[in-house]
């Protein structure tokens, strides 16, 4: 990492707040003679709003001393919006995965109702939906409880 930083000789270094190597990076800035200029974290320590925004977004920034404040702020804002966009993508992916899992469990619950109570598919779904609304819970949660209960009552699930 040190070699890369020496090669690139950056004005600003952004690193994910969750990256365990942050302590390594900071130590490097403190002691290394290979990194020419002293690097301080966040150019303006009094700019609490920017610092908070960055940490909120999960970014930490190390900025070369002497870089113009205005320039740093605009770079920082860009970095934050990139991080936010990336976070949103990650979240959307996570949601998509959950939705897929939800759909699977709802399908199994419907199949159970159709088998054991001789319901049609739309009726089975309507019952799940009505129960969820009455209980103020998500359909997937009701479906999950049903599949679990059926499993406990004698392995209906795999029939």
């Amino acid at each position: 990492m040190l070699r890369r930083i020496v090669e690139i000789d950056p004005d600003v270094v952004f690193i994910d707040l969750e990256n365990p190597n942050r302590d390594v990076l900071e130590h490097m800035f403190e002691v290394s003679r290979a990194v020419k200029r002293p690097i301080a974290m966040f150019v303006d320590q009094s700019d609490q709003a920017s610092i908070e925004a960055a940490i909120e977004a999960g970014v930490s920034a190390y900025v070369v001393d002497g870089l113009k404040k205005e320039r740093v702020r605009s770079i920082l804002e860009t970095a934050i919006s990139r991080f936010n966009a990336f976070e949103r993508l990650k979240r959307e992916l996570e949601e998509a995965k959950n939705q897929l899992a939800d759909r699977k469990v709802i399908e199994r619950a419907k199949a159970l109702l159709m088998q054991t109570r001789g319901m049609s598919e739309p009726d089975a779904y309507a019952l799940l939906r009505k129960t969820a609304m009455n209980q103020n819970r998500r359909i997937a949660e009701i479906a999950e409880s049903l599949v679990l209960a059926a499993g406990l009552l004698g392995g209906e699930v795999d029939k």
């Binding site: 707040l17 969750e18 990256n19 365990p20 190597n21 942050r22 302590d23 390594v24 900071e26 130590h27 490097m28 403190e30 002691v31 301080a40 974290m41 966040f42 320590q45 609490q48 610092i51 908070e52 940490i55 909120e56 930490s60």
Partner: protein, 413 residues
């Protein structure tokens, strides 16, 4: 509970000594005190510091010298902090690579973790490597402002091995230490448990000595509290100190070790197998011969006043910051260091429990060569030993002379 619940957000790093916070939450010690304790697992000390700075968290399991460094204005974001209690003593080891162990073992009679013997062996290996123009040894520490760094440097320098001149010290995050050792990136490291045991168990490392051998019953982590939060939540601080004190006592009970290892093994906490955590809790470490050896005083959660924030500990860290050029000496700065640790808050919180409290706020570090009765509220407290392996004594009132003594010695080496 008639009083309203107090919300506390605490950051921690996955290490065995975060146990009191985890136990306070999991076993209800926090709730009993009317605390809603939220725990947030972090990946680096830098992130703990930053989250404190922007008030994402109120308190943290933190390296004992870090709040002192923060208050002295070292490091990027300075957040005024207070330390109302310590989170135990010990639980560090110096672990070396198999290769370095091979070289060391020819100069060692026994694999018994003895710090003085290990150091003289290391000195011979370093000189041999110099003579054959081999590259300098590199040792990992967890942070520049850590007990690990100061104790390792203290130990090395005492044998004439000056960091930066005879050996190199680099920062490596604790969970990455075993991998850094296996890949040859470092030749050894000083880190908290379970990482020494993990490296010793996976076969890439050998535990050479421990901080219990370098400085007996020495400080390690503390409860760091944002000063503004401590001021606006005085009652919250007291409740937290009481909850953590009770949790720490629970952690020290031998019969609870199995349950504690299971709790800590959870992914939300340390996230390592319980078998990797149990040896440390049993104060047992694996030797090069594959045996487990009991290390007296390797770890104390509560006993021997292990939660007491001795101002002499804060001042010892300050003396080492001066010694290694992180800060210059001034009596004003020494006062800031001393004032960071707050035995007054500790006493105020624990007085209602009617427990043993030390009479003094500071002690002469290294003066107790064995377990000794100490002045306390009920006259039953026993402290020590707290000796340094080289027999030196640190009198906090003679800090300037203590540092000057090192300066002359370090230059000679």
């Amino acid at each position: 509970m008639t009083e309203s619940m107090c919300e506390v957000r605490a950051g921690f790093i996955p290490l065995v000594d975060c146990a009191p916070l985890v136990v306070a939450r999991e076993l209800g010690f926090a709730e009993q005190e009317g605390l809603n304790l939220h725990l947030s697992k972090e990946t680096s000390w830098a992130t703990i510091r930053d989250r404190l700075a922007v008030s994402h968290i109120d308190v943290a399991h933190i390296l004992a010298p870090m709040p002192v460094a923060e208050n002295l204005g070292l490091g990027p974001l300075q957040t005024p902090m207070v330390v109302p209690m310590a989170l135990g003593t010990g639980a560090n080891s110096v672990t070396v690579s198999r290769e370095l162990w091979q070289a060391l073992s020819q100069f060692l009679d026994a694999a018994d973790f003895d710090a003085a013997n290990a150091l003289s062996a290391l000195g011979r290996v370093v000189r041999d490597r110099d003579a054959s123009s081999l590259p300098r040894l590199t040792l990992g520490v967890v942070h520049p402002y850590s007990a690990h760094h100061y104790e390792l440097a203290y130990w090395l320098a005492s044998g004439g091995l000056i960091p930066g001149a005879s050996v190199d010290l680099v920062v490596v995050p604790p969970p990455l230490m075993p991998a850094a050792l296996a890949s040859g990136h470092i030749d050894g490291f000083c880190a908290g448990e379970p990482w020494g045991t993990v490296a010793a168990t996976d076969g890439n490392g050998v535990i050479l000595t421990t901080n219990a051998q370098i400085w007996q019953n020495s400080p390690e982590k503390v409860l760091g509290v944002r000063e503004d939060w401590a001021k606006s939540h005085a009652e919250g601080v007291s409740r937290l100190v009481r909850a953590l004190y009770r949790a720490a006592q629970w952690c020290d009970v031998e019969g609870n070790q199995q349950q504690l290892a299971t709790i800590l093994a959870d992914d939300r906490y340390v996230g390592q197998a319980a078998e990797q955590i149990r040896p440390c809790l049993a104060r047992r470490l694996k030797t090069a011969d594959g045996e487990f050896l009991t290390v007296e005083g390797f770890l104390n959660f509560a006993s021997k006043a292990a939660t007491f924030p001795w101002t002499s500990h804060a001042l010892w860290f300050y003396s080492q910051m001066v010694r290694w050029g992180q800060v210059t000496f001034s009596s004003q700065a020494a006062e800031i260091a001393r004032g960071t640790y707050r035995p007054d808050l500790y006493r105020a919180a624990l007085a209602p429990l009617g427990i043993e409290l030390p009479s003094a706020n500071a002690k002469v570090e290294g003066a107790l060569t064995s377990e000794t009765p100490a002045g306390s509220t009920q006259g039953q407290l026993r402290l020590g030993p707290d000796t340094f392996f080289d027999g030196l004594v640190f009198d906090p009132d003679g800090l300037e002379a203590y540092v000057a003594g090192f300066e002359a010695k370090d230059k000679q080496s």
